[in-house]
């Protein structure tokens, strides 16, 4: 077990390192922060001073080395715009983002899972088709379109809700809907196909042949099996809690991590962007490990494969 955990941790570490390195390289070669932060009119001397201050005049290898060393010392750099520690800036935005993404996740699960199960149980009937057409519509519409559409309807035509901003509960509704509807649609389709697959298995026929009422067959025999693949996709959604709302936050000018990312990328505020990407990679990796552990609990074939043999 220890060996297994060590391997998993090592793999997680490698994944994060790869993401961070890739981001580092791409950001360094894609534009000069000095120009975007100091402005076109800054004097060459001022630019040079800025580059020297942030170490941008050194070779990319030395910059990378310094960056990694700093991370291991808990230093994630400073914002090139504001000057404050990048990590503090990013962390301060997390609550706002989670305030959107967590209710959205609950919405996705609350709508997507029952809708998928329902559709599967009414396979090829009009109910199934209705759910699926809705689902396809739900996830093919990009979230900025959906967001603007919701704003158009509920804020402009029927002025029930604010177009953007923060502070009150009413501000949450439209962005959460925007985030949740697409995810719910994806989840519904996924759960439906998982359920259909399970319902076609021989053990479902066995359960029917045992005289177990259909409702109990679905609950006790089908759902636990369909839960196994479903956990993967929900785990992926958990992984996007921190940074899964970039577009939506922009649409509703929500002061979360996603908004910070957009602003920082535009301004070439490298430390902040890197810090966010590191955080995103870490949450993704963590949620993946969480999924693996859940797998072990849900699927006995994985957890005790070595307990007896034959």
């Amino acid at each position: 077990m220890v060996r297994y955990l060590l391997i998993r941790l090592l793999r997680a570490f490698i994944t994060i390192t790869l993401v961070v390195t890739f981001a580092f390289i791409v950001l360094r070669v894609s534009g000069d922060p000095a120009i975007s932060i100091m402005g076109d009119n800054a004097s060459p001397e001022a630019m040079a001073a800025f580059r020297k201050e942030w170490g941008l005049d050194q070779s990319i290898f030395i910059q990378y080395f310094n960056y990694v060393t700093a991370i291991f010392q808990g230093d994630f750099g400073h914002s090139m715009r504001g000057g404050g520690p990048a990590l503090d800036l990013v962390v301060s935005r997390i609550p706002a983002t989670v305030m959107l993404t967590l209710p959205a996740l609950l919405l996705k699960v609350a709508i997507g899972v029952p809708a998928g199960i329902y559709a599967a149980l009414h396979h090829d009937k009009s109910l199934d088709r209705t759910v699926m057409v809705t689902a396809v519509a739900g996830y093919t519409v990009p979230s900025f379109v959906l967001g603007l559409l919701l704003v158009q309807i509920f804020a402009l035509w029927m002025p029930l809700l604010p177009t953007g901003g923060t502070g009150e509960l009413s501000h949450l509704i439209l962005p959460v809907l925007t985030l949740g509807i697409g995810g719910a649609a994806i989840l519904a389709r996924f759960v439906r196909s998982a359920m259909l697959e399970v319902l076609g298995q021989p053990y479902i026929r066995t359960a029917n042949a045992k005289g177990i009422p259909w409702g109990a067959v679905v609950r006790a025999h089908a759902l636990p099996n369909a839960a196994i693949p479903t956990v993967t996709i929900i785990g992926f959604m958990v992984g996007s809690l921190i940074a899964g709302s970039v577009v939506t936050e922009s649409v509703f000018s929500w002061p979360g991590v996603g908004n910070l990312l957009v602003v920082s990328v535009t301004a070439r505020d490298l430390s902040v962007v890197q810090c966010i990407l590191l955080l995103v990679a870490a949450t993704m990796v963590l949620s993946n490990m969480f999924v693996d552990i859940l797998y072990g609990i849900l699927d006995p074939r994985l957890s005790n494969a070595n307990s007896e043999g034959r």
């Binding site: 029952p114 199960i117 329902y118 149980l121 396979h123 090829d124 319902l199 298995q201 021989p202 053990y203 026929r205 066995t206 359960a207 029917n208 042949a209 045992k210 005289g211 177990i212 009422p213 259909w214 409702g215 679905v218 006790a220 025999h221 636990p224 099996n225 196994i228 849900l298 699927d299 006995p300 074939r301 005790n304 494969a305 307990s307 007896e308 034959r310």
Partner: protein
Amino acid sequence: MVMREPWANNLHPDTVSPFTIPAAMPPGPLLAIQDLTVAFDGVSVLRGIDLSLDRGEALGIVGESGSGKSVTWLAALGLLPSFAAVSGRVTLEGKDLLNAPAADLDRVRGGRVAMIFQDPSSALNPVIRIGRQVGEVLARHQGVSGGDIRAEATRLFELVGLPDARRRFDAYPHELSGGQNQRVMIAMALAGKPDVLVADEPTTALDATIQAQILALLTTIRTETGMALVLISHDLGLVAESCERVVVMYAGRVVETAPAQEIFSNPRHPYTQGLLAALPPFEGPLRRLVPIDGQVPDPSRLPPGCPFAPRCTKREPLCETAVPPLVQAGFGRLSACVAQTPSYVRPEKDRVLA
């Protein structure tokens, strides 16, 4: 959320039965199937099956793939998917099963008629402990509850010869071999104390020595409990030695029925004769096998007359146009072949229960 059985729509075929159900059946067959038909997407796969099963009888159903031997029993118990169109009559002690309400059918399934399947490892739920899977039947059909479930399930595991029965209650199917899983399936079937056990190719997926064990177990259980056994198999030899009476099916019909010994010593229907000639002998001198020419017809493109006619060596002009009915062909024997009934008319009233 409304959860309905997927096949519930088919429990009410639009044909109105011409029979009326008497309040108490005279001692007749335990289970009777009359004119059972099944179609998938408009393609007929079962075309009028008549069968009966007596109490305690061991009935073998033999046929090649596509003969409808499994579909017959899945349809009888309402286990086909919802897109299957089923019609006809299936009665257990006179009570109709095809039109029965879901709750009544659930009491029959697992309680009066149990079924086991070909691949035991996929027929058991992979995420539920085997003890609990057996316990479900005990709770539902025998009213066993609580700690008694563990005791009773363990007793059943011992009865079916599951090695290390005491420790197996908490095992998962993947921890057992195919043969052991089939024993679990049998224990699960016995848990409901059924009158009939339908075994659909129960040993096909198993190795020869394990096959012998499972067959011996089924025979022992049958003699000890007195339940009837329906053994569905493609293997004539296997059915011959485990059953008293054999039904041979071809292309969705019964073509011959006879006591087990007689069907092998003196087959009447050309298809049965062909099957026996195609089977390599295991005793006596070697001979060249006589295959049946051609292949089983596609159910969507059946010949107009006898479905076996295109492959039959004894074909007559009449065979190409008329479907021969199942008629008496000796004592306790039925056969559906023009050769046995030279002067037949197409008689709906001559229909007999196989």
